[in-house]
């Protein structure tokens, strides 16, 4: 029996994503129709019950976020759909954008109605520019069929959706940075407070949700929360779309119930490691996530069980790495990524990444100095405590978890041996 499920992904392959008529023929927009008969408070109650944690990676409770957004005073509010998934090994939002764009539109309308917003913005990463015509069409057809625009379905609720493009900057996945980018500026994070929920895009109260989060909302409004909650565990109810890739036979985006073990995900869904190689490690949640060794592969994929191992769900990326990759080379690749993507605004991130990279390069060459690892760890801790935004705070997750789980690959046992003499 297949271990994947289809709730968020139930429409995949069921209709032509380039046609609203095709979408309507499978019952499309019933979530919006239903939501517009409910009160904002009822929708928030339902969202809280579904206990969806934000799927961009930060895992903030969606019901709580919507309740806060709804209670912020303001006649003119904004909903932003963050379609800028930039974590390496994360492509699950691409599956929604390409196979079910209308459900995303529904999710945004519902979010807008719930919090009292007039305008919605989709910030689509430049790397998905090939999906721009499809999303543009979904917005235009929704507008011409009365699901967007003024007085939607004669309810008095008016909502517009605008499409904006990113231009290849990972840091723009961060909420305030994304807002700077939509305002036509370079992408550097804003200082908080003011928080974007009160003063965000164009100084207006702003709600930012990930693509998958909005798609889930449309799903549980349409079917009720019971079906969604029948999956998962008590601590992590529901389902999640994962992006499974790396040294794996069947890479892809899969919807799974929370609670499968990593072994089930890697071997039963992913088909295991190709060419007879052995699992060495996995990285969860992208470059800002942590790595775990093969020895904990029986850990259930839930927020609480992963936390016990120091791991995160994050964006839902699961990168599988076999015995052909050296841990230090893996760490170097992640470090190079963060050097490239640091926006340069704050010193801990800009300089910390550079200095740590120098040390990692010495480890790659085998020319490390005795105190190098200690120095790298100290810099890494300063970054996680002092960086301006989430990028700098999490940039060293891979390094720190690599040192913890694979000390021998940093020559730590050898150092200990030397110290004996």
């Amino acid at each position: 029996m297949s271990k994947t499920v289809a709730i968020i992904t139930e429409n995949f392959g069921q209709y032509d994503p380039g046609s609203i008529h095709s979408y309507l023929s499978i019952g499309g927009f019933s979530a919006v129709k239903k939501a517009l008969t409910m009160s904002s408070a009822e929708i928030i109650e339902m969202t809280k019950k579904a206990a969806v944690k934000g799927r961009g990676g930060a895992a903030y409770d969606t019901g709580r976020k919507w309740a806060q957004a709804a209670s912020v005073p303001g006649e003119d509010k904004v909903v932003i759909c963050n379609a800028d998934e930039g974590e390496p090994c994360t492509f699950k939002d691409r599956s929604i954008l390409s196979k079910d764009p209308f459900r995303l539109i529904e999710g945004m309308i519902i979010a807008g109605y719930t919090v009292g917003a007039k305008n919605g913005y989709i910030y689509l990463r430049e790397e998905y520019r090939h999906l721009r015509p499809l999303i543009r069409n979904a917005i235009d057809e929704s507008l011409s069929n009365g699901f967007l625009g003024d007085n939607i379905l004669n309810t008095g609720f008016s909502f517009q959706i605008h499409l904006y493009s990113g231009a290849g900057a990972y840091v723009c996945g961060e909420g305030s940075t994304l807002i700077e980018s939509i305002e036509g500026k370079s992408g550097r994070p804003r200082i908080k407070p003011p928080f974007i929920k009160e003063c965000g895009l164009f100084q207006l109260p702003t709600l930012v949700n990930n693509v998958e989060t909005l798609a889930i909302a449309a799903a549980f409004i349409q079917h009720g929360v019971e079906e969604y909650l029948s999956h998962g565990t008590s601590g992590s109810p529901g389902t999640k779309i994962i992006s499974l890739a790396g040294n794996i036979k069947n890479p892809g985006a899969y919807e799974i119930p929370f609670g499968l073990t990593l072994r089930e995900i890697i071997y039963d869904i992913g088909g295991g490691i190709p060419d007879g190689h052995e699992l060495k490690l996995f990285q969860l949640g992208g470059a800002s996530g942590k790595i775990g060794p093969a020895s904990i592969v029986d850990t259930p994929y839930t927020y609480e069980d992963l936390a016990k191992e120091g791991l995160v769900v994050g964006s839902g990326g699961i990168l599988v790495v076999d015995d052909r990759t050296r841990v230090i080379d893996f760490v170097k690749s992640i470090q190079d990524f963060f050097i490239h993507e640091s926006c340069g605004k704050c010193t801990p991130c800009r300089e910390g990444n550079r200095q740590i990279a120098k040390i990692i390069d010495r480890f790659v060459e085998g020319s490390q100095r005795p105190d190098d690892l200690q120095t790298a760890e100290r810099f890494a801790n300063i970054m996680s405590n002092c960086a301006f935004c989430g990028l700098g705070e999490t940039a060293q997750s891979t390094l720190l978890s690599a040192i913890k789980h694979f000390p021998q690959e940093f020559g730590l046992t050898e150092v200990a041996e030397n110290e004996k003499h």
């Binding site: 390496p88 994360t90 492509f91 430049e126 036509g184 370079s186 790495v321 893996f330």
Partner: protein
């Protein structure tokens, strides 16, 4: 080529423009800016669209100056955006911009054959163009094609499963 009057040529040694801002191109740029209603919040999208219609896929200095004037945005702000975003270039690239994914997923799945084959076939390294101006090579972070890695993009189109020399050659043959 007829030069547009009133727009100062502002070439630096780094940023060549080859006198590219013809009257025709200026009209195209006007169209793009008008399409976005000269909305300054659309600057990133406007520059991306303009870059698409300029040969060698970049924003020449004189075009940046023209957009600055047209939209009444300081040139420094235009360059703040151009220099910040990886998808915008202030140096001429080529007819075909090859973006080779160099992120950890493509490394783990083995992108050395892809890297070596491209460099060998085209005789260029990262951030270089072929002498005929046809191909430009750049390494880029993850573009979300990990399920078909190792992968590359050519003019925005994604190609994956590039594990052999033959598979890389077959893709390049489509861009002769």
């Amino acid at each position: 080529m007829q030069r547009l009057e009133g727009v100062r040529q502002m070439n630096s040694t780094k940023t060549e423009s080859f006198g590219i801002l013809t009257r025709e191109l200026a009209q195209e740029i006007d169209k793009t800016i008008n399409h976005y209603r000269s909305n300054s919040t659309k600057l990133v999208g406007i520059l991306l669209d303009i870059q698409d219609i300029i040969p060698k896929q970049y924003i020449p200095r004189e075009v940046a100056a023209y957009v600055s004037e047209k939209m009444n945005i300081p040139l420094s702000k235009i360059y703040d955006v151009i220099s910040f975003y990886a998808a915008l270039s202030d140096v001429p690239r080529a007819d075909y911009v090859i973006q080779l994914c160099d992120s950890v997923v493509c490394k783990v799945t083995g992108n050395t054959t892809l890297r070596d084959t491209i460099s060998q076939l085209l005789g260029i390294k990262e951030q270089e163009s072929t002498p005929d101006g046809k191909y430009w090579l750049e390494y880029t972070p993850c573009f979300g094609a990990c399920d078909i890695s190792p992968a590359m993009r050519i003019n925005g189109k994604v190609f994956g499963h590039l594990t052999t020399q033959d598979s890389v050659k077959a893709v390049l043959d489509q861009y002769r």
